[in-house]
């Protein structure tokens, strides 16, 4: 519950683009959600564009305690889980073929048409 006489605190989240997720940019005090949204525009988006803005009452957020025991930390080598943990290029080279990256596949999908040259 907000303190007597104090406005409630809202956390502000914004989405830069339709394909981005919401990111927290800070918080503000406001009398109600509509005012909070208006204040968010005034406070955080005087210059930058935003695709979408959320205001969330701070006491609605249940956060993780901020210590190593409660947060995901790299307690061990996790290279096996990462694309960088695999060095396939020299192996492909042995077979006279080129290594692939996912970025290259994604770019390929932007081009139209059939197979084309490999």
């Amino acid at each position: 519950m907000p303190d007597a006489g104090e406005y409630r605190v809202y956390e502000v989240f914004f989405q830069k683009d339709a394909t981005d997720f919401h990111t927290n940019v800070g918080s503000l005090r406001a009398a109600n959600p509509e005012m909070a949204l208006q204040m968010a525009r005034e406070t955080f988006f005087r210059r930058d564009d935003a695709y979408d803005i959320w205001v969330v009452p701070q006491d609605s957020i249940f956060a993780s305690p901020h210590d190593a025991a409660h947060l995901p930390v790299r307690g061990m080598d996790k290279r096996y889980r990462l694309p960088s943990g695999y060095d396939n290029a020299p192996h492909w080279k042995r077979f006279k073929a080129q290594a692939m990256t996912i970025e290259e596949v994604a770019d390929d999908m932007k081009t139209r048409g059939k197979g084309g040259p490999s």
Binding site: A18, T19, D52, N88, I102
Partner: protein, 315 residues
């Protein structure tokens, strides 16, 4: 705004490259197509974890075991994220997670043909990471510009994780290709098993009605044949470089057009398998899924009840 006007406005927004959000007005057909696509995608991620999960205890080294386990976790995670999107879209129908999972167990939602098949050797586990994930990456990367923003966003995240799957799959296949003759034979055997199912994976040349409607609404922007051609074009030269043969003599590139030929997969067989869950492993994997769903029902109920009690006490 009248219904016609809203429809015109909606189509104009899509045509101009704007994206649709979960709470925006959308035509009923658009919503239903999205539910069909994302629901199927979500349960396929979950069922897709099963053939690989079978190999976690049997992986040849600890590093491969960790990696395969990580991949299985990713697939289940992708299923969770996609089902959430399908749930948001299904809200007007009053259908949540339980209903969407029941659809899978009761055969009302299909999952990809490849996940109905057996993975008898370690090379199959590798070829799943190489060819099946390769195909899935192509279809998912082609959906990154989907008109439905929540799907496009989630796919961006999913594709980033698939990057590891791709490198992992290649790594397993390369190790077998660099191995002894028995390992190379095992790899060839797995390729022989998975090639034709992968041709089915992308769907018929002439697309069905709902696929065409998805193109109309820019939920997807590539045809089945475009995706299949991208796949063949990418993987045939690599398999050949490894000294593996493609188990289909019709796979040849037309030098003039660049188009790859292929033998039609057994459409009736795979369609029947997907529609009626009658593939070699369909029922056993659905049973495992059912065990997880019904076997843990009491846990979900107990946690809900305990949370309700705590809330009442705190109030």
């Amino acid at each position: 705004m009248g219904e016609d006007e809203r429809m015109t406005d909606f189509m104009a927004r899509i045509a101009s490259g704007q994206r649709v959000e979960a709470n925006d007005w959308m035509p009923g057909e658009y919503r239903d197509l999205l539910i069909k696509q994302i629901h199927m995608h979500g349960v396929s991620e979950i069922m897709g974890a099963y053939p690989e999960k079978e190999w976690v205890p049997k992986a040849p080294t600890i590093r491969r075991k960790l990696a395969l386990n990580a991949k299985v976790q990713d697939e289940i995670g992708h299923g969770q994220m996609l089902l959430r999107l399908a749930e948001d879209l299904s809200r007007p129908y009053g259908r949540g997670r339980e209903a969407l999972m029941d659809d899978l167990l009761d055969g009302r939602v299909k999952f990809h043909n490849v996940f109905h098949l057996s993975a008898p050797t370690w090379a199959d586990a590798g070829v799943i990471g190489f060819l099946v994930d390769g195909g899935a990456i192509i279809t998912q990367a082609a959906l990154l510009d989907s008109s439905y923003a929540p799907y496009a966003r989630m796919l961006k995240r999913i594709v980033a994780e698939e990057s590891f799957h791709m490198q992992y799959g290649e790594s397993v296949v390369l190790a077998l290709a660099e191995g002894r003759q028995a390992q190379r034979d095992m790899l060839q055997g797995a390729i022989n098993r998975w090639w034709s199912p992968m041709m089915f994976f992308f769907g018929p040349r002439g697309m069905g009605k709902s696929a065409e409607r998805m193109m109309h609404y820019k939920i997807r922007t590539k045809t089945n044949e475009e995706l299949r051609q991208k796949f063949i074009n990418r993987y045939v030269p690599r398999l050949q470089a490894l000294g593996m043969s493609i188990p289909d003599p019709a796979v040849k590139q037309d030098p003039a057009t660049g188009v790859w030929g292929f033998t039609e997969p057994d459409w009736a067989l795979h369609t029947d398998m997907v529609r009626n869950n009658c593939g070699p492993e369909s029922q056993s994997r659905l049973n495992l899924r059912k065990q997880a769903h019904t076997g843990q029902q009491w846990v979900r109920e107990a946690v809900n009840e305990a949370s309700r009690l705590l809330e009442r006490e705190g109030a």
